[in-house]
Amino acid sequence: MELLEVKTVRESNYKVPDGKLLKVKLLITSEKIAEVKVLGDFFLHPEDTILKIEKELIGLSRDETSIAESIDRILKESEATLVGATAADIAKTIMMAWDLD
């Protein structure tokens, strides 16, 4: 019988002090990000930058600094403005989901 890896979506919420609420839905396979969604009531201009960020994070390992750096890089490349949260806040929320179980 084939071994099936159990995939559960891990969810975390983080209210940024003086900022907005971040919600992360995270799927991990083989200790790497398989899928991630960054939700919440923050602002990001242009808005479709969120899809680039979510794509860029796939395959990353559990390292808060490199996750934050990846997000920052996409923001800079896209000349995007994130309001109500920072790249570090998103990375922190991802780590909170990662460490859930």
Binding site: H45, E47, V83
Partner: protein, 255 residues
């Protein structure tokens, strides 16, 4: 004084309302629409969610279906808003990128445009202030929420001004785990959110708020509001967007 087209208080469903906002942007991008301020209400009542929010995370969809309440994803960020037909007026203001009332800095932009709401509330004898990032507060409580986007070569900001507030209904529509809906939580929201009728303790009409908003934006932004309507082209685009985008499951449940 600079002229803005003014589309006076209209009533539409959620899909039409969001489609009209985007249709105006698309027309403006082509140089075919002037800077515009519109006022509108939502019938049926509806809940709109921010563009980055999950529909099923935020909205009690089944409850809304059972009550005929619409639910829709906006093109702007920010949070979920309940647009009660009897309890709020929504505005949108749209201008080309680079307009003097559309500074590059996002917070500065919110502050400038929310000045229209602060002035409108002044007309109703309510003292209020811009509360970063995107709120207007009266007596320390939120009375207006606002959200902006920059796309299609334009800047759009839309927002709601609360005339009335039914916290219990709001909690039923917005997804809050049942066990969390305690008296304390309802009390907490009443500490943070208010409405014009709560503040003034009288039955302020929709029309009175409409007049105050028109005057408030005109004064605060120093613009002349010229009554107008959508062009046939904008109307056509709006009809298409309402049908193909804003009422689609694909858009509303994309996150």
């Amino acid at each position: 004084m600079e002229e803005f087209r003014f589309i006076d208080l209209e009533v539409h469903n959620a899909f039409e309302n969001m489609a009209i906002d985007e249709a105006i942007m698309l027309s403006m991008k082509e140089g075919k629409a002037p800077p515009t301020l519109r006022l509108y209400r939502w019938n049926p009542s509806a809940v709109s969610i921010g563009t980055f929010q999950g529909m099923n995370d935020e909205v009690a969809v089944d409850f809304c279906d059972s009550k005929g309440i619409n639910y829709i994803r906006r093109i702007t960020g920010g949070g979920a808003v309940f647009h009660d037909y009897e309890g709020e007026v929504t505005y949108s203001i749209i201008m080309p990128k680079g307009h003097k009332l559309a500074p590059a800095d996002i917070l500065e932009s919110y502050k400038l445009l929310c000045g229209g709401i602060v002035r409108a509330l002044d007309y109703l004898d309510i003292k209020s202030e811009f509360k970063p990032i995107n709120d207007v507060n009266a007596g320390g409580k939120k009375v207006s929420g606002n959200a902006m986007t920059r796309r299609h070569g334009c800047m759009l900001q839309h927002g709601t001004v609360l005339l009335d507030l039914d916290v219990n209904l709001m909690f039923t529509i917005l997804k809050v785990p049942q066990e969390k809906i305690s008296d304390k939580m309802i009390a907490d929201v009443k500490e943070r959110v208010t409405s014009i009728r709560d503040i003034l303790d009288r039955d302020v009409s929709i029309e009175e708020l409409r007049d105050a908003m028109r005057q408030g934006f005109s004064d605060a932004l120093d613009i002349d509001l010229i009554e107008g309507g959508l062009s046939p082209e904008e109307r056509e685009t709006a009809t298409r967007l309402a049908k193909e985008k804003y009422s689609s499951q694909e858009w509303n449940f994309s996150r």
